[in-house]
């Protein structure tokens, strides 16, 4: 029964990346062979402003241990202003998650340009490290399993 208890913690991490900057930054990290843990799975969205808080909560509901949103740097949005809206929405959402007791390290927003493969890789490494230090998303999982 308890064999699996010792199994290593493998976090599930969802990264939403905007098509124009961060997704391209992730591609650059790839073509530059800058590694980061395989726990990170990227979902391509046209712009950081496409990310609905529902998506983030859904990820947590389904068992994600961390969710990170990457977009163009403020002022560089392909759609001029998308990331400004995303910034306000995510600030409020993260604040709310923190308020209800979800560890604030489990959510993050980073601005990564198409030229910043190095930053993309470094960001993912540090985010995954943070998730490892927080461990499994027990608080939300407890709730999930209670039924």
């Amino acid at each position: 029964m308890s064999i699996n208890n010792n199994s290593e913690f493998k976090p599930k991490i969802v990264a939403f990346c905007c098509n124009w900057c961060s997704y391209a930054g992730a591609d650059l990290a790839g073509s530059s062979r800058l590694t980061y843990p395989a726990d990170v799975k990227i979902i391509r969205v046209p712009c950081s402003c496409r990310v609905n808080p529902m998506f983030i909560l859904r990820a947590f509901e389904k068992g994600a241990d961390g969710v990170i949103l990457c977009g163009c740097h403020p002022g560089d949005c392909h759609y001029t202003s998308g990331n400004f809206y995303a910034r306000r929405r995510m600030t409020l959402l993260f604040s709310m998650l923190d308020y209800i007791g979800v560890e604030n390290g489990r959510t993050r927003v980073e601005w990564v340009s198409a030229a910043e493969g190095v930053k993309f890789s470094a960001t993912m490494n540090s985010f995954v490290e943070k998730i490892y230090s927080l461990g499994k998303n027990v608080r939300l999982e407890d709730l999930r399993c209670k039924n």
């Binding site: 124009w20 979902i43 046209p46 998506f55 068992g63 202003s81």
Partner: protein, 662 residues
């Protein structure tokens, strides 16, 4: 549920070396909806595409997932292939198992596991894809070139020659740019003005070219093929249509104490001025910040002496709004500020100068009428020292991390010209590396050493110490003889790093074109699309993209022009069908989506809606799909979820989330 085919690419060994492609195929077959899965060494090849097409036909596929490189590489390839086989191109999804997987993970088990999950996410998404039809948008057959240096002039000339109207917007009172400030050019020592002026004249006279000098781009809206640009024509205070360019106003202007920008502030100019003799247009500008008339209200001499009656103190800034199909950025460069490099005593001694200042000193129209002399006492120098890489190749915050590229060659040019004109002057160059890739470049540098006897010393200078007698003590090291060198010089020339013109940041923001950490504009692909910005319809010309010499700039300017012409030659562009769409039954008509739309693509109509038998007039959002660019800002603002984005719908993204977290 769609009938889905999964195609796993080996990409030679790029994917297959780290991802067990057979395992991905095997796992794909277990996914609901998947009726076909196979792998192939190169899916993007003719044969690979043929396999996809065959499967679409044979298995009657409704959706295709290609597990391969980034969709930014081959999404279009596979969409086109699918279309040829009769499948709607938007029923194709890419699972990026190369850039996001095989290239960054070393452990095969881990990489395979991740590739399978990425495949599953793409399958989950494609299950919810719907066929989309691309629309069309018109192309305005007019180009805008921002910057009137050699890059901008060349691009404008090439576009104009192809038959399309071009506007050049130049910030300063004249076109010509940095090249007009240079004395001679490497590697053939042509006089810069002699080769530039004919191009300036040609641009000015070209029926397809319209030049806005003393003007700046103020606002940009729209998108590829249909940009709307506001250009601020700053008040020149001189009527361009009346001025004859006689120059009397400049002669008579009593206020001649303004630092002359064209001569890098080495001498002064009048408040009403044309920057240089060959300026185009040859119409002066009143510098309102320094003009006595504008500062105190008294003077007005220029208006009195102007026989054409062209001086107009009441002139106002003018905003010109114009539509363009393509925009070329050619904003050029400046030298970095040397305040932080005080060890080279730039701010302490007038005889420590930058290379661009030396260009002006060497130029017959410059502050010393072309005589090489010390700016402190006017004496002819006997010992000259050149210091390379000042602010270039610096890891610290004082300078730039990149190599400025042009300094090695222009320093060889300066050294050679000085030795040629003043054989009694000793020239020493302190260098770290001499970088001379380019046609006839290394030969040029070797001539400076072998024929002109320029003394090249390998080693950076540590310090320049101004002496009480006006000499400059240069403390450097000679790494080859392993000696520290103390050299007395009369003049020191610093090869300061070049940086993008500071205004480019603002322009990039307006154009939503991305810039890198050094403020150089980013190209769409470092190797394959070097003159295009990732933002469609924006092209890059000259140093705004990265350090370049004149020949490179001119060839890139031509390349940017060709790309712009290629766009302008099209009558219509196919538009991205991934646009927002409102569900009329659910829309509240609350206007929140319109408030966040950057394109003004959402309007409201009162429509008769039949909501499950209830017929009523409702205010509902309507998206203009020609204006919508598909960012999705509206979809998140909409509380009811009535607004959704085609191709990236809520359910599609949630399906991906579910697949990843499963």
């Amino acid at each position: 549920m769609q009938r889905i085919g999964v195609f796993v690419c080996h990409c030679g060994s790029n994917i297959a070396a780290t991802v067990d492609v057979k395992k991905v195929v095997e796992m794909a077959m277990c996914e609901p909806g998947v009726v076909h899965a196979e792998d192939y060494p190169y899916m993007c090849s003719e044969a690979g595409q043929a396999k996809i097409q065959a499967a679409i036909k044979e298995k009657n596929l409704g959706g295709v997932v290609v597990c391969s490189c980034s969709p930014r590489m081959h999404e279009n390839t596979f969409r086109k292939a699918a279309e040829k086989a009769g499948l709607n191109p938007y029923m194709v999804e890419i699972a990026n198992i190369r850039e996001h997987c095989s290239w960054i993970h070393k452990n095969m088990e881990e990489a395979t596991e991740k590739a399978v999950i990425l495949m599953k996410a793409a399958v989950a998404k494609v299950n919810l894809n719907t066929p989309l039809q691309a629309g069309e948008s018109r192309v305005t057959k007019r180009a805008l070139v921002i910057g009137g240096g050699i890059a901008g002039i060349q691009t404008a000339l090439d576009i104009a020659e192809a038959g399309y109207p071009v506007d050049i917007v130049e910030k300063t009172p004249s076109i010509g740019g940095r090249m007009s400030q240079l004395d001679k050019t490497f590697p053939t020592l042509d006089c810069s003005a002699c080769i530039l002026t004919p191009k300036m004249v040609e641009a000015n006279a070209h029926p397809n070219i319209n030049i806005y000098t003393y003007s700046e781009v103020e606002k940009v809206s729209g998108f590829v093929g249909d940009f709307t640009v506001d250009i601020r024509k700053k008040a020149r205070s001189v009527d361009m249509s009346k001025c004859t360019g006689c120059g009397v106003c400049q002669e008579k202007c009593p206020n001649k104490k303004t630092p002359n920008e064209f001569n890098r502030g080495l001498n002064n100019r009048s408040a009403i001025y044309t920057p240089f003799a060959q300026a185009i247009p040859n119409v002066p500008v009143i510098d309102r910040e320094h003009c006595t008339k504008f500062l105190t209200g008294k003077c007005g001499i220029c208006a009195k002496v102007c026989q054409a009656g062209a001086v107009d103190y009441e002139q106002q800034d003018e905003i010109i709004t114009e539509k363009y199909g393509a925009i070329v950025v050619a904003t050029g460069f400046n030298m970095i500020n040397l305040d932080k490099y005080d060890e080279y005593a730039y701010s302490q001694s007038k005889d420590v100068i930058t290379s661009l200042e030396l260009e002006r000193i060497m130029n017959a129209a410059g502050p010393t009428k072309g005589h090489l002399e010390r700016l402190s006492d006017g004496k002819a120098p006997k010992e000259m020292v050149f210091i390379q890489c000042v602010g270039s190749r610096c890891a610290d915050k004082r300078g730039k991390s990149y190599c400025s590229k042009i300094c090695c060659m222009y320093t060889a040019k300066h050294a050679m010209l000085i030795r040629d004109k003043y054989p009694d002057v000793n020239v020493t160059v302190f260098y770290i590396d001499v970088r001379t890739p380019g046609k006839n470049f290394d030969e040029f540098y070797r001539r400076a050493v072998e024929e002109y006897g320029v003394n090249y010393i390998k080693g950076q200078v540590g310090k320049v110490i101004p002496q009480p007698d006006g000499k400059l003590l240069v403390q450097g090291s000679d790494l080859l003889s392993n000696k520290q060198i103390l050299k007395e010089a009369d003049m020191v020339v610093l090869a300061a790093a070049i940086e993008p013109e500071p205004g480019v940041r603002n322009i990039a923001t307006m154009l939503t074109a991305s810039i890198d950490t050094n403020d150089f504009l980013t190209e769409a692909h470092a190797k394959l699309r070097p003159v295009e910005s990732p933002t469609a319809g924006i092209f890059l010309s000259g140093v705004c993209q990265g350090p370049k010499d004149i020949p490179e700039t001119v060839s890139q300017a031509g390349a940017a022009a060709v790309k712009a012409i290629g766009l302008l030659a099209k009558d219509k562009l196919t538009t991205n069908p991934c646009t927002a769409k409102a569900d009329e039954l659910m829309c509240n008509g609350c206007s929140q989506c319109a408030n966040v739309c950057p394109y003004g693509a959402i309007s409201y109509e009162t429509k008769l809606i039949n909501d499950h038998g209830v017929r009523e007039d409702r205010r509902v959002a309507v998206v203009n799909s020609a204006l919508c660019q598909g960012c999705g800002a509206c979809t998140v603002t909409c509380p009811s979820g009535a607004m959704d984005l085609q191709g990236f719908s809520n359910r599609q993204i949630l399906a991906e989330v579910d697949a990843i977290c499963r």
